[in-house]
Structures are given as C-alpha cells and as structure tokens.
C-alpha cells in the first residue's frame, strides 16, 4: 500500500513536471525516474518477469518446434538410387529381376482376384451414398440413408444404438412387398408400451418399399416413405433407398452378391 502511494507520488511529480516544465524535455523525466528507487525496482521486476516469460516461451518453442526439425537433420541423407547400367549385362541380375517380376505378377493377380467381376454394391454411410458395380464398372450411384448414430435409452437399463455395420456383407435373402416386424425399440422410441412378440401391432405393411434384401443380423436394404431424408443418417441401422434405386439394386444383385459398407 505504502509502495503504491510512493509510486503514485513519483508518477504525479513526473506528470506535473512534464506539464509545467515541458521545455526541460525528456532528460528531466529520465533523471527523475533514475532518482526514484522504488520505481526502478518496479521496472526491474517487470523487466525480469517479461524476460523470464520470454525465456520460458523460447525454451518451449525450441523443444516443441525446433528440436523435431533438428531431429530431421540428424536422420541422415536420402538413400541414393541409380540405374546401375553394369548390372544390365549381368546374368545374375537379370535372373533376380525376372524372378521379382514373376512374383509381382502373381501377387498382382492374387490382389485383383479380390475384386469380383460380379455385381456388388458399395455403401458409404458417412456421406450416405451408394455405388452399384457390375463387371468392375460403376453402373449406378445415388443417395441412401444409413444409421443415425443415435443411442436410445430408456429410464431403465435398456439401450439401443442405431448404426449401420461396416465391412463386407452379402445378400442373404431377397423379398418383394416386405412386411416390417416392428422390434421393441420401435415402440419404445414412440413412447408406446411394448406388446407381446406375436401381437398384430408388430406387423406394419408398405413401409419398407417394394423390395427388401437382407444382409444378416436383422439389417436390410429396403425402400422408404421418408424420401426427403435420403442422403441423411436417419435410420435404425438398415439402408434405405428410393424406389428406382432400390429396384435397380434388387434386379442387379442376387443372393450371395457382396455388399461393402464403410
């Protein structure tokens, strides 16, 4: 407190001198500051504080940014590769390269064999799009709807996560005019009491479109009444398509056709 008063007095003196005796210039102010020990101490402390902070920042900057760069320098120089012309006439070299080419050809063939020439569909659940392939060529693309990534929780312990599984699947069953058997979550989600397993209210007609294809674990590729949501993640895990795309996929894929979901 006392220190603050002294500092204020010193500053006031400086201000008064500056206003009344502006002609004497900055030399006087500088002399007054030098004469005021308290002010000098404050200045010194402030300068040491700023200096220390800057030093700490610089040290951290060095370790965080400069050192990784320096590590690059100590990683050696790029390996030098060149076309060794003397090897071209070397029989052993020719043998090694022909062996390598053969091996490459075999590996390449094996790798290509993973992509089927048969029809398959690729479903992109992030952008909610699909791509239909036949003979390794894309023949149709469009929007779809996939899992909403919603976790439905009840007041009790029950919970369901609505997401479309990712990976390789295949068509296990195909149906026309499918009927939806509403699972428990469909009632819970709407605040309805869950009926018994064979209750007629579980069966709903006309909501899955004209076709449905099962990919296992209860997941289907089917149509929808909510076409405005195509291109958005809104489903409970199934893949929804519009009527034309659904028909095209239904007619192109057969049982056993691959479905790649990512």
């Amino acid at each position: 407190m006392e220190n603050d008063n002294l500092r204020d007095k010193a500053l006031n003196n400086i201000n008064v001198n500056v206003l009344t005796n502006s002609g004497s210039g900055s030399q006087d102010i500088f002399n007054k500051i030098l004469q005021n020990e308290k002010l000098l101490i404050y200045l010194r402390i402030t300068l040491i504080g700023i200096g220390s902070t800057l030093a700490v920042i610089l040290i951290f900057a060095f370790f965080l940014y400069a050192l990784p760069g320096l590590q690059q320098l100590s990683s050696g120089s790029k390996a030098k590769l060149s076309k060794v012309s003397e090897l071209l006439d070397d029989q052993a070299y020719r043998k090694q390269t022909s062996l390598m080419q053969k091996e490459l050809h075999q590996l390449s063939r094996k790798y290509s064999s993973f992509t089927s020439g048969l029809s398959y569909v690729v479903i992109n659940t992030i952008d909610n799009r699909f791509l239909l392939y036949r003979n390794k060529k894309m023949i149709r693309e469009g929007f779809c709807s996939s899992g909403s990534y919603t976790m439905l929780k009840t007041q009790g312990e029950k919970k369901w996560i609505f997401k479309t599984p990712k990976g390789k699947y295949w068509i296990r069953g195909k149906t026309t005019s499918p009927v939806w058997r509403r699972p428990d979550w469909a009632f819970v989600e709407e605040g309805l009491p869950v009926p018994s397993d064979n209750d007629p209210s579980r069966w709903e007609y006309g909501v899955l479109g004209d076709y449905a294809m099962s990919i296992g674990d209860g997941y289907l590729i089917h149509g929808t009444l909510y076409k405005r949501f195509l291109g958005m993640p809104v489903t409970h895990g199934c893949v929804r398509l519009n009527d034309e795309d659904l028909e095209a996929i239904y007619n192109t894929l057969s049982i056993g056709s691959k479905v790649y979901i990512f």
Partner: protein
C-alpha cells in the same frame, strides 16, 4: 556485516545459479538424447526388418541401389501388405505416396479413393536402406492409437419418451459440417500417419488446429522427457504427413476401425 552474514548471502545467491546450471545441463543432455533418437530408431528398423539372405541364393548387394529393382521391391511390399489386409473383412487404408492416392479398401475391393494434395515424409523413411523400409512396409501397419479433432462415431443420446405425448416424429438430423479435420494414426511399428484437411480454415478453426497440434507436441515432449529422465534414449516416431480434401479425410477417419490396418507405398 560479519562473515556469517556474507556467507549466507552468497549461499542464497548460489542456489539459483546451481539450479540454472542443472537445468542447462539437463537441456543439453535432452537435446543430445533427442538427436540420437532417429539413429537409434533407424538401427532398430534395420535389425528388425533386415532381409535375411538365403544361403543358397544370396542377393547381389548392388541390386539395392538399383532404382528399377527397388521400384519392384516397393511394389511387391505394397501388394503383400494389401493382400494381407484383404484377407480380413474390415475396412482398411492403402496409402500410395508415389501416385498420391489414399484408398479405402474392404477385402481388397477399393470402396473410396481420395487424392492427396500434400505429402511430407520423415527423412528416416527415405534415408534408411530402401530394402529394409520395404520389408517393414510389406506387412500392414496396425493402428494402435488415434487422436483427432472430430469424433470417430458422432453418437447422440436420446432418452425414450415416457408416453406418446412426448414423442417427436421426423426430427431432421444436424448434418452441418463445421469441425476442422486433423487426425493422427499411431501404428504398431512406431510410424505416425498425420492427416490434415487441404481446405483453408477460418481463424477460430485455425486456433483449434493449432492447439490440437500443440497438444500433440507436448505429448511427444512429455514422453521424451520421461525417457530421458531415466537415462533412456527417447523413442523417435517417424511420420507421414498428408493433406486430403476435408470430406475425404473425414470419410477415411470415420470408416477405418479403431484398430484398423494401413498399407503404405513410399
């Protein structure tokens, strides 16, 4: 002022000096250890992945400085890694740095392709013996940890309504794309794959990306400090930094599983 007082005063002055000297020595020691670490990593790669010459048919050493042969070796490694990944049913990532493509694959089928707009590779991956690096990359790299500015699974929690009066049908999901994309995939071989979005970001996103990067640098520094404190050479992690269009970067991050696999062609 008597002698005792003088000694006490000079002792008090000595403490910061000793501390500063100790800090200085530690900093120098830390710098030396950090500079040694890439070399140690390189020799670890060499000893782990060096090609064992067969006794009957030893390879000609000159082959490993022949660009055509190394080119074939790289191709072979990449194919081998991709075939190993294709034998699983999950989503995997194939990075071809030679033609700047990042492909998502499922069982060997390319399901998504993205073009890289920028690539930076740790020097260690280019300075090591090319045949050793090829040998390291001939197996898929398994992702062991990841850090990202976006969520892997943007899960929303919804409480079930108590009755039909609380039920809100047809709620349109929030699909706005506002988060900047930057992530790091750490693999079991120590290689880090760092993905940035190519698009320019606004100032607030820039700040977010800066702190994400700073956080990662602090994590690396902290881990190195822990090693150096117990007189161990810190673990150097080589990296591949790539830039991808934001949408592709997001698709790739969300598609590959947490413990997914990556094949790399350098």
């Amino acid at each position: 002022m008597d002698n005792k007082e003088l000694t006490e005063k000079s002792g008090n002055r000595r403490i910061p000096l000793v501390l500063a000297s100790f800090a200085g020595v530690f900093i120098v020691y830390f710098i030396i250890m950090s500079m040694i670490s890439p070399g140690k990593k390189l020799s670890a790669i060499r000893s782990e992945y060096a090609i064992q010459p067969s006794e009957q048919n030893p390879p000609d050493k000159r082959l490993y400085s022949d660009s055509a042969y190394i080119g074939m070796l790289k191709e072979k490694s990449f194919l081998k890694a991709k075939i190993a990944m294709a034998e699983t049913d999950s989503v995997s990532l194939a990075l071809n740095l030679a033609d700047s493509t990042a492909n998502l694959e499922i069982s060997g089928v390319r399901v998504h392709s993205a073009r890289m707009t920028g690539i930076r590779i740790s020097k260690i991956l280019l300075s090591g013996n090319p045949e050793t690096i090829c040998s390291m990359l001939s197996r898929p790299l398994n992702i062991v940890r990841d850090f990202a500015t976006i969520k892997k699974e943007p899960l929303m929690i919804k409480m079930a309504p108590k009755d039909t009066s609380e039920f809100k049908p047809d709620v349109i999901p929030d699909t706005s794309d506002y988060e900047p994309v930057n992530y790091i995939l750490e693999t079991d071989s120590g290689l880090r794959i760092i993905v940035y979005q190519s698009e320019e970001v606004n100032p607030s996103d820039k700040r977010r990306l800066f702190f994400f990067d700073l956080n990662d640098r602090f994590r690396t520094l902290w881990s190195a400090l822990k090693d150096v404190a117990v007189f161990k050479i810190p673990d150097y992690k080589p990296y591949i930094r790539i830039r991808l269009p934001k949408a592709d970067a997001k698709v790739i991050y969300r598609a590959i599983p947490r413990k997914g696999q990556v094949a790399v062609y350098i």
